[in-house]
Symmetry: C2
Subunit: 215 residues, 2 copies
Amino acid sequence: MAPSYKVIYFNFTGRGEPIRMILTYGGIPFEDSRFEMTEWPKVKPTTPLGQVPILEIDGKRYTQTMPICRYLGRLLKIDGKDMLEDMAIDSAVEIIWDILKIAYERAMGGGNEEKKKQLLDKLHEQMPVLLGKFEEDTKKNGFIATNKLSWADLVFLCGYEDMENLLAGENPFAKYPHLQKLKNKLLENKNIKEYLLKRPTNTMMTAYNLKNDLK
Amino acid sequence: MAPSYKVIYFNFTGRGEPIRMILTYGGIPFEDSRFEMTEWPKVKPTTPLGQVPILEIDGKRYTQTMPICRYLGRLLKIDGKDMLEDMAIDSAVEIIWDILKIAYERAMGGGNEEKKKQLLDKLHEQMPVLLGKFEEDTKKNGFIATNKLSWADLVFLCGYEDMENLLAGENPFAKYPHLQKLKNKLLENKNIKEYLLKRPTNTMMTAYNLKNDLK
C-alpha cells in the first residue's frame, strides 16, 4: 500500500509550501494540515522540536524543510542524474533560501527601521548576482539547476511567489524574463494548477498569488 | 588520475571547516587555500557569487557549504544506507547549522546589545531542545544521525569547536556527555589528528581548539 502523507504547517506558504508543491507535482495525495498563527502556542508543544513544517509518512514525523524536499525529490526521481547534478540542485536551493531568508527577516524585523533598511540593501546587492546567475542558467538549460525539471525548480516556484509578496511593488523578477518563463512553464502542470485553485487563501501575503498567472 | 581538490576560504573555521574536515577524514589530499579577513575585498570579486567557501575540483568551482559536504559525504560513502537515512543526516546537519547561525549572528551583531541579548535568549531556549535530541540519539546509536559514522558527525565536530568558541565560558556541551564522547571518538581518527596538529591558527576564535582535546 502507498504510504500516507501529511504536511503540518501554518496556513501560509513559507517553509511549508515547497513540501506541498513537490508532493503536488508528484501527484502524491497528502493531508494538508494547516493552522493559523494564533494557534501556534497550542501546536508548538506537540511538535518534536518546537518546529514546523512537519511531514508525516505513515504517522512518523520528519522535520526540516530542505531535507524533506530532497527526500521527496529523490523519491519522485526529479533529482540529479549523478552526484554532481545533485550538488547543483542543492546549491540552487540553498541560494533561493538564502535570499528568501533575508527577505523574511526584513518583513518580520519588527519596528527597527534601520535594520530593515540594511536588509533591503543586502537584498538589492545580492539579488542581481544570484538571480542573475539563475537567469543565465535558465536561459541556457531551461531550468534552474540542471537541464531537466528538478525539485529545485519547484522550490524556485514557491520562492518566486514569496519574493513577489515580500518585495511587493518592486517587481523583483522584472529583469529576469527566463525566470518568468520558467515560472509560467511550471504553472502549466495540471497538478500544480489544480492545487493552486483549491489552496486556502494565504491571508498574510496577499499582494501576489501564483493563481493569478494561471492560463 | 584522482581529481585535484582545493578549498578556498578565510583562515578561519566557520563555513569552510566542514569541507576541510570531510576531505581530511576521507584522506583526500587538498590544497588548503586560506586568506585573512583583510584580504576579502580583494578576493570577493574573483569568486563566482561573491561567496566563499569554494571547492575546486580539477579547477571547476563549486559554492555552498552543505551541498559540497553532502557531495563529499556521498563520494566517501559516509552517507545514509537509504534515502530515509540520508534525510536524517541532512536534518541533523540543518539543525547544527541553525544553532551555529544564531551563535554567529550574535557574535557579529555589532554594537547592538539588545539584539545580542535576544539572540542569546534564543540560543538558550533552543539548545536544550536541539542538543538534547542529539544527545539522546547519540546515546542510543553512537552517532548524531545514524548508527554509523556519517558526514553529519564531521559537521558536528566542527560545530562543536565553533560553539565552544562562540559561547566561550558557558561550556555549552557540559550537559551532554554522549556528545562529548562522540567528539573524543572522532578525534581518535588519525587523519583528523594530523590535520588538527598542522592546521594554521584561527586567530579570531582562540578560546577553544579541538587540538587541546587530542589524546
